[in-house]
């Protein structure tokens, strides 16, 4: 546990994704550590999420708590399992030069960061869960907390992916540009050092950078990041929908899974109206 915490701490502090750490084009954050972190921290968040069922006073409420503790890590891992092949293939097509191992380790590390942020918000979630009776409020609060955790995870992924792209492509700098690379979009031509930090904006570097230039690699990295973002978000939302219920609607009997109906986005809008009604 101590090793796990130390490794996770180093990851959160950016000590595994600095320019020097990624020099070989690989990320030094093992899959077993990521897997344990996702299982434990995701489980903690899931348990707090499922606590809402206890407020209903039903005898099988604890089943929902256990189910949520198992389902939340499963949601993240299954989504990655489904999307990983396509994420890798499309990043290769976009000319990333990244190997499969580093891509998988980077994505798992991103999930570890995401669940760590989620678990850190779990005390607040548990507090509201145990003091609220309003189901719609709890659904919205979970959407906000998981959204915040996801946002931090994405910022981590963006920064780390760009740093990894720079490190992986460094030996080939000066060679030809990736064959499929389209012209750079305005606003993407950034040449600032990638380790500049999470919230620092990237400086612009002229209208069109030459092939092999850091700006080209960054633009390529950003393109890959966007593709991953869309693919993971769409699959993740649907996977989350398939794995319902996570919170457990009051009055409804416990089930491991619900019948397939409606969609994630429609449900968020419905709960927004439910909360305001």
């Amino acid at each position: 546990v101590k090793y796990l915490l130390e490794e996770l701490d180093a990851l959160l502090r950016g000590k595994r994704t600095g320019a020097a750490d990624l020099a070989g084009g690989d990320i030094r954050f093992g899959l077993p550590v990521s897997l344990q972190a996702i299982a434990i921290l995701g489980g903690v968040y899931g348990l707090c999420m499922g606590l809402f069922a206890l407020t209903s006073g039903r005898s099988d409420a604890w089943l929902q708590v256990v189910a949520s503790g198992l389902k939340l890590p499963a949601l993240f891992l299954l989504t990655l399992l489904v999307t990983c092949p396509s994420l890798y293939v499309f990043s290769a097509l976009a000319g990333s030069h990244l190997r499969f191992g580093p891509v998988l380790r980077l994505l798992m590390a991103t999930l570890a960061v995401t669940v760590a942020v989620g678990a850190s918000l779990a005390p607040i979630l548990a507090f509201f869960t145990l003091s609220s009776k309003n189901y719609s409020f709890m659904v919205l609060l979970n959407v906000v907390f998981l959204g915040a955790a996801g946002l931090v995870g994405l910022l981590f992924l963006r920064r780390s992916l760009l740093a990894l792209m720079m490190a992986a492509n460094a030996p080939e700098s000066g060679e030809g540009a990736p064959p499929l690379a389209p012209p750079l979009e305005p606003g993407l031509e950034s040449a600032a050092p990638v380790e500049a930090g999470l919230y620092r904006s990237l400086a612009t570097a002229g209208p069109r950078a030459p092939a092999g230039h850091p700006a080209r690699r960054q633009a390529s990295g950003l393109r890959i990041f966007r593709m991953w973002l869309v693919a993971y978000a769409v699959v993740g939302a649907q996977m989350g929908w398939l794995l319902r219920p996570f919170i457990g609607e009051p009055g409804a009997p416990f089930t491991w899974f619900r019948p397939r109906e409606s969609s994630f986005f429609l449900a968020v809008v419905q709960h927004l109206f439910g909360f305001l009604r």
Partner: protein, 220 residues
């Protein structure tokens, strides 16, 4: 009074804590927490003296004296893990201890300001105001004390922001989280003043409810 406030636990005098809050003096967590506990309790005790005309009502004095520091410290404890991880991810871990002491200093500032306003609320109660006006007066004094504490917090945070602008975002994040959780906890810990005629209880004789749902229902 200074002797009374001299903190046996931390061996810091009240004057030292006040000097710290005013900006010149090294910050330490322990005296700041002691200031929150003592200052909050003192105001809470004054706050609970509304319509204190029976031994039963004396219990409200003790309850309120516990509730005010509990509200501050429990809210902080609930928000701290998230704040810690956000600071770490933003690359501000090395300054986290200072950020935390800045936050505690802000809360200690509020607590000391509240304590100083305690006699004032007693005067308000003595002038025979209704329960509704007592609540309003307490809200006004809480707001005033919070503003005082916020000045301390900003003064402490200014140095951090000067070293690294990302602290500004973290400060806003903290204020957002703290207000969000504090509102609900304050709602759960009612009554603080205690309506005359109702039995004196630590929590209301009703299941916990959600403050935001109550506000939304009032608005709709």
């Amino acid at each position: 009074v200074r002797r009374v406030l001299a903190f046996a636990v931390t061996r810091k005098s009240a004057a030292e804590v006040l000097r710290t809050l005013a900006g010149d003096g090294a910050l330490e967590a322990a005296p700041l927490v002691a200031a929150i506990l003592l200052g909050g309790s003192l105001y809470g005790a004054f706050m609970g003296t509304y319509a204190c005309n029976s031994p039963e009502r004396l219990k409200m004095v003790a309850y309120a004296a516990v509730k005010v520091p509990l509200l501050v410290l429990a809210t902080t404890a609930l928000c701290l893990p998230g704040f810690f991880v956000f600071n770490t991810v933003a690359g501000l871990r090395d300054a986290f201890a200072r950020a935390l002491r800045a936050i505690l200093a802000g809360q200690a500032g509020s607590a000391v300001a509240l304590a100083s306003l305690g006699p004032l609320i007693r005067i308000v109660y003595s002038s025979g105001v209704s329960h509704r006006w007592a609540l309003l007066a307490n809200s006004a004094l809480f707001t005033l004390a919070t503003l005082g504490g916020h000045m301390v917090l900003l003064r402490q945070y200014r140095r951090l922001v000067g070293e690294e602008p990302r602290h500004r975002l973290m400060l806003r994040l903290w204020l957002g989280m703290y207000a969000f959780v504090g509102t609900q906890l304050g709602w759960m810990l009612r009554p603080f003043v205690g309506a005359p005629g109702l039995p004196v209880t630590f929590f209301r004789d009703e299941p916990f409810s959600n403050a935001y749902v109550a506000i939304a229902q009032l608005l709709m």
